[in-house]
Amino acid sequence: MKVASLSIAELRRCIAARELTPLDACDAALAQIDARDGDVRAFLNVDRDAVRDRARQLGASKAQNALHGVPVAIKDNMCIAGTKTTCASKILGGYQPPYTATAVQRLVDAGAVVIGKTNLDEFAMGSSTENSAFGPTRNPWDIARAPGGSSGGSAAAVAAGMSALALGSDTGGSIRQPASFCGVVGMKPTYGRVSRYGLVAFASSLDQIGPFTRSVEDMALVLNVLCGHDPHDATSASAPVPDFTGELGSGVKGMRIGVPFAFLGEHVDASVRASFETLLESLKREGAVITAVTLPHANHGLAAYYIIANAEASANLARFDGIRYGHRSSRAQTLHDVYRLTREEGFGAEVKRRVLLGTYVLSAGYYDAYYRRAQQVRTLIIRDFATAFATCDAVLLPTAPTPAFKLGEKIDDPILMYLNDIFTIPVNLAGLPAVSVPCGTSPEGLPIGAQLIGRAFDEVTVLRAAAGVERVSEFRGLAV
């Protein structure tokens, strides 16, 4: 068995039993990076010496924490003290934050080894990881294709055996869609479950950190470490944190799985539809009750999302002004230049587009027509889900309407690109937990994911259903 392909649960067992050391685990990951990342380009930064030093220290320690010696890749929009953080943008220059994100710190405290920082769409704005100032990441299943995004680097790293675990952030699908494209498990927990402190904000009311893993069991193990209240994040939840592994083995028998058939109808590629239907049949055979539900306002999610997310982004990205950190235009003579030229040079096209849109919808005279109305539609979407959950335990949708598309295929058409997130965006608007689990393969051999959505703070049920999907689906393996 190849060490780089082991799940977290397996690594843990091997390390605890002294069959492997943390250094073995990390060296296997580093070797895989050497072998694959020249093509895939999942990582922006890997400090091999630091990784091996830390792995050696852990090997010498008697501690046996939950993630002892487990390699983890971190999306490069999370701060690690003293490590360059780029958000895949030129505007951060060589910025090195003086503090570490709470989510990263929790993993490190549990014994994980940060193996490197991964590529993303600039400031997490995108669905393909093509909007990176440092070039695109490629899908390890087919390097002519996109890994999805914005957490494409993290998804690709886990899929290609370069890390057993990765963190991503999900604002409109940025964990789940790349998980689907790369054939791994990716989860966005309930809004507030994971601290956002140290995550460079894109859209504060939508952003949520979550893991990529190779199995649903691993997902539950990592959530046990990651979730919990953080006094540094006023939006982090004080709800009690359960044992997320609790219901993994319960099976789907008797579970009511709601499917919004009408919403699904309009948008789905044939291969995705086929594997989705197969999945429904399999779940029925396992004893799940498939229930039709409606989400009447979900098809307005995309429009509401682009108003709310970009309004928030226009403020969140204002601080990149060339004064306290990051890039400052060398052409700047006046203060005015410092702002305008720095931001012209520092931001890529997609970021500019979104910041300008966000500025537009908040500007004098437009607030009510756009921002306020979008938040009203958001309320309607929240209500839609509440109604659906009155008759089901989890909602099932494809994660994305298509399998991984070709690099360059959609980059010139923002709206076409945005449609990728049609099934994931309503979940962010409602702040609900959702996981993407591989459920099939397209005729071209590309992974296809299914998305399970649960009630707020009911990750346990979501994971129970996800484990059921994992069991019945034919998708297996890594793109090593």
């Binding site: 309930t190 709800a239 890039h327 500019k352 300008l356 109305r373 309320t379 923002p414």
Partner: protein, 105 residues
């Protein structure tokens, strides 16, 4: 009807302090116009009597939760902070001269 034209873009550039490069202006104007047309679809939704969502917290936080006590905790070393600045003295961040005192608080 087109809502986004060059003038609107110029105004937004000023508000957002982003200059678009000359080759970006045309493309972005057209793209933004399409995106705005897309989000216009919300005007068709009946939102009468619907409260806008405020923040995204599921729990109604009890009073006194998610706030801090008034306790001073140590911050960052000045050298560490100023090291990250594109331009600074040993004590201050430095910017090109600010004209006039425009106190905004």
């Amino acid at each position: 009807m087109s809502k986004i034209n060059r003038d609107v873009i110029a105004h937004l550039e000023q508000l957002a302090r982003i200059d678009l490069a000359p080759d970006e202006v045309e493309v972005i104007t057209a793209q933004l116009d399409r995106i705005v047309a897309m989000v216009e679809s919300l005007q068709k939704v009946d939102v009468s009597g619907v409260e806008p969502t405020l923040g995204m917290s599921h729990e109604v936080a009890a009073e006194g939760e998610h706030v801090r006590d008034d306790v001073v905790v140590p911050g960052l070393e000045r050298a560490t902070v100023l090291e990250q600045a594109p331009d600074a003295t040993r004590e201050f961040f430095r910017v090109p001269r600010v004209l006039g005192k425009d106190d905004e608080s």
